[in-house]
């Protein structure tokens, strides 16, 4: 049963995990977008090595499980190669960023390729350089296609942050598990509240995604 008293008791304990969940999300989102842009652009490079290498990265990280990647980064790689990422915060952030960066790089690439060829030609006819064509014409249109997708992936990244509880980070889920293990009968209340926490955190992201969808609709219709 879910009791009001229990909720009042559990709530502050769970809230202790907010900082970790939110900072991991922000870190993962920042690096995730960064990796997405780097990998997305590299996959369109004229350099064969760069293209193959990023293709390899994308397929490996899309094709394997995030939890396993997280364990590799946190447990296996430090042992095998002596590379320490510094802390479990960094291991969590980088694992989520690499994984979602791989997915989102396809969005970056796809969006840039989806901008009609005529746009680049018109820019060439106005004597723009390759860089100007990208910066002034292609990219602003591509980003409008990317934004709603990025919003969706941000929500997914928020949910993925719960995995860092498995490498000993004290996020919302970690605190929830602690409470439950000391007080088994509270399991329904605990996990209901955990869900609620994630949902409330997701609300601004959902709202932002809607905003970005509306923004995208303006000014991408064929010119």
């Amino acid at each position: 049963m879910v009791h009001i008293n229990a909720i009042i008791e559990i709530f502050p304990d769970l809230a202790k995990g907010l900082t970790i969940t939110i900072t991991v999300l922000i870190g993962a989102a920042f690096f995730g977008y960064l990796f997405a842009f780097i990998a997305g652009l590299c996959r369109m490079s004229s350099n064969v090595f760069l293209r193959k290498f990023t293709g390899f990265y994308v397929e490996i990280f899309r094709g394997t499980s995030l939890i396993v990647q997280l364990f590799w980064l946190y447990y296996a790689i430090p042992m095998l190669f002596g590379i320490e990422l510094g802390s479990n915060w960094w291991a969590g952030v980088i694992a989520i960023a690499l994984n979602y960066g791989a997915y989102m790089s396809e969005i970056v690439r796809g969006s840039i390729l989806a901008v009609a060829n005529g746009q680049s030609e018109a820019a060439t006819a106005l004597n723009m350089s390759r860089f100007q064509r990208m910066r002034l014409v292609i990219f602003p249109q591509a980003i409008r296609m990317m934004l709603p997708e990025f919003g969706n992936y941000s929500i997914q990244m928020l949910k993925a942050t719960s995995l860092v509880s498995l490498i000993g980070m004290e996020d919302i889920l970690y605190h929830g598990n602690i409470i439950r293990s000391t007080n088994l009968s509270q399991a329904p209340t605990v996990y209901l509240l955990v869900l609620l926490f994630y949902f409330i955190l997701a609300l601004p992201l959902i709202f932002l995604t809607r905003k970005m969808e509306a923004f995208s609709k303006k000014g991408v219709a064929s010119g």
């Binding site: 746009q119 060439t124 106005l126 004597n127 350089s129 000014g219 219709a221 010119g223």
Partner: protein, 256 residues
């Protein structure tokens, strides 16, 4: 004799195994208005696309203002032009496309202002002034703050012309600019081209299916057939006195 502003010397172009152009020789003088006519697939558009650097010739030379467009000198040898060379040579050329290709994320005014601001690095006020003048000239002063998606096809094409004119090209290329328009919108676009042809001293090359219009404004008409210039001359010479059977047949189809 005035030096030509554009010359083609034995220009060939193939797409894979398909030979589209089989030796084009062509001189265009400053301010000359040239219409290229001919059946679909004869390579008309390819000629101006190569001049705009959108398509690289398979062989031959294109000379613009005395400079080889697609080849540059390097250590005394002619090599394939790089981006920098292409940019330096194509600066005097402007183009209007069949499908307008306006930038959908920019307002009409921004469409006109972007290139002079960023490519020519001109001052913002001067560019704005000139853009507004050009938009007035094409009759769209009341649309400057709208987006391309809010305009009709004819209006879009007029914006595209203003956008090209703001760059003050010496050579303007028109690639079947009325082909994608609803019939009732063709006249307004042709009117703007006629105005440019009359009042500006730039060279113009029009690839067109608007036969009467082409013959009306062109100093020179080229009939392109199966990858070669099969006939050329003034409009009168080409229309009335040519013995070329394919040309007569082609014209007949349009007159029918």
């Amino acid at each position: 004799m005035i030096e030509p502003i554009v010359s083609f010397h034995d220009v060939h172009k193939s797409f894979g195994d398909v030979k589209v152009l089989k030796g084009i020789d062509l001189d265009i003088r400053p301010a000359e208005k040239v219409a290229i006519i001919g059946p679909s697939g004869s390579g008309k558009t390819t000629i101006i696309r190569m001049l705009m650097t959108l398509e690289e010739p398979t062989s031959g030379d294109i000379i613009v203002n005395g400079t080889n467009l697609w080849k540059m000198e390097k250590k005394g040898k002619l090599v394939r032009a790089n981006e920098k060379h292409l940019r330096a040579v194509r600066g005097d050329i402007g183009m209007v496309f069949q499908h307008f290709n306006l930038f959908p994320h920019m307002t009409i005014l921004e469409n006109c202002m972007t290139a002079p601001l960023h490519v020519k690095k001109e001052g913002k006020e001067a560019v704005k002034q000139r853009s507004l003048e050009m938009l007035e000239r094409v009759g769209l002063s009341d649309k400057v703050d709208q987006y391309p998606s809010q305009l009709s096809g004819g209006q879009k094409q007029r914006v595209a012309m203003a956008r090209a004119l703001v760059m003050r090209p010496k050579i303007m290329l028109f690639d079947e600019v009325t082909s994608a328009l609803d019939p009732e919108l063709v006249a307004e676009v042709l009117q703007v081209i006629r105005d440019i042809a009359k009042n500006d001293d730039m060279a113009m090359i029009l690839v067109t299916h608007e036969m009467d219009f082409a013959l009306d404004i062109a100093d020179k008409v080229l009939f392109l057939d199966e990858g070669v210039i099969a006939e050329q001359g003034t409009a009168r010479e080409v229309i009335e006195h040519s013995n070329n059977e394919r040309l007569q047949e082609f014209l007949h189809r349009f007159r029918a």
